[in-house]
């Protein structure tokens, strides 16, 4: 594009823009344009919205639990991030029982199950959770990776009495954790 055709194109654009501006209401710009002077100054308004963003990560499966007559316990560390490092809620849901939401482990056939309890430690001490019920926790990390240092711990406990009542076998279950803005 030659110099003059470039100028012509821009002038045309300006004319079109003026036409459009005349046809519709002018948007409310906060930007200011420079005027002629020894120096010239203009400015722009910058705006952005950062809505709630949360993430729970770093969970590892709790495997290898073996009942030998005493209570059984297992845990996993995790990272909970919320922008701004604000408080959050956590909802834990099991996949056992008739409704498929109980904290319980089942054997392969599903005929037998063993209940468990869940506690969630946000750094201020463990809190027992009820399946499907949100619990508010203290401030999350404001770094998506928690700066490589987990900030929560999820613990499952199986009472010796419950394990003793179940037939011998292998029991499994899935625990789902949801973090949200409270």
């Amino acid at each position: 594009m030659s110099v003059f055709s470039s100028i012509e194109t821009n002038l045309k654009r300006s004319a079109i823009a003026l036409g459009i501006a005349a046809a519709v209401a002018a948007p409310a710009f906060a930007a200011t344009q420079g005027t002629i002077g020894a120096t010239s100054q203009g400015s722009v308004l910058i705006s952005l919205d950062v809505d709630d963003v949360l993430q729970i990560s770093g969970l590892t499966d709790i495997l290898g639990l073996t009942f030998t007559g005493a209570d059984v316990s297992g845990s996993t560390d995790a990272c909970v991030y919320r922008n701004g490092g604000l408080a959050y809620s956590v909802t834990a849901t099991g996949d056992g029982g008739a409704g498929g939401t109980d904290f319980s482990l089942s054997d392969a056939g599903g005929a037998n199950s063993v209940p468990y309890t869940v506690s969630f430690d946000d750094g201020s001490g463990g809190s027992p959770l009820t399946s499907g019920t949100a619990a508010t926790m203290a401030g999350a990390s404001d770094a998506t990776d928690c700066n490589s240092t987990p900030n929560v711990q999820v613990t499952v406990d199986i009472a010796a009495a419950d394990a003793a009542a179940a037939p011998a076998g292998s029991y499994t279950g899935t625990l789902t954790l949801l973090v949200d803005a409270p």
Binding site: V3, S6, I7, N10, L11, S14, F29, A30, A31, T32, Q33, G34, T35, I36, G37, A38, T39, S40, Q41, G42, S43, V44, L45, I46, S47, L48, D49, V50, D51, D52, V53, Q55, Y81, R82, N83, G84, G85, L86, D142, A143, T144
Partner: protein, 190 residues
């Protein structure tokens, strides 16, 4: 004749004491069938500039990952350059500032602030842009004369510069709410 000598000496002495501002280059016409006078005319032209084309940066909503960025082409104009020459200029940038740096590039939600980076390019687009330092003049900018002249005379006619900003993900991670700030550019012709 001898009597005039002290008078001439006095006149010469007075003339020597007169300030130079009274010196005139104008010549006066003499009596004749025609008469001609001349005057010298002097006018100083300073360096003037105009920067236009600013549009607000509405970055929208952060998705939860990645940087947020935006850019806008600007029109830089100045006088004092030939139509087919090249003109140079400097750019000063200032954000809303913080107590320790009154020109810092920051956005605020009313409680907290996050930082952003700003860049200037002496041509449209972001390729080859230079990072701005708050409160520090950025030199080394130039543009062709006809572009500068047109933009100086008529406003934003030929886009010949670019302003861009980047809000790093690391800043956004710790942010919550709606943020806003003002970035001001000052054009200083060389």
């Amino acid at each position: 004749m001898r009597a005039r000598t002290p008078l001439l000496a006095l006149l010469v002495g007075i003339a020597g004491l007169m300030p130079a501002v009274l010196t005139q280059a104008a010549t006066q016409g003499t009596t004749g069938t025609s008469s001609t006078s001349t005057v010298d005319i002097h006018m100083g032209i300073g360096r003037f500039a105009r920067i236009t084309g600013f549009e607000d940066f509405d970055l929208g909503e952060w998705s939860g990952s990645g940087d947020m960025s935006a850019d806008d082409n600007l029109c830089v104009g100045r006088n004092g350059v030939g139509f087919f020459g090249t003109g140079t200029y400097r750019i000063h940038a200032a954000g809303d500032g913080v107590p320790t740096d009154p020109a810092a590039f920051v956005l605020s939600n009313g409680v907290d602030q996050i930082s952003y980076d700003a860049y200037f390019n002496d041509q449209p687009g972001t390729a080859g842009r230079q990072q701005l330092t708050p409160g520090v003049l950025l030199g080394g900018n130039s543009s062709f004369g006809f572009r500068l002249v047109f933009n100086y005379l008529f406003g934003c006619v030929i886009e010949n510069a670019n302003l861009s900003i980047v809000v790093p993900e690391s800043e956004l991670e710790s942010a919550a709410g709606g943020y806003a700030g003002t970035l001001t550019l000052t054009l200083v012709p060389d």
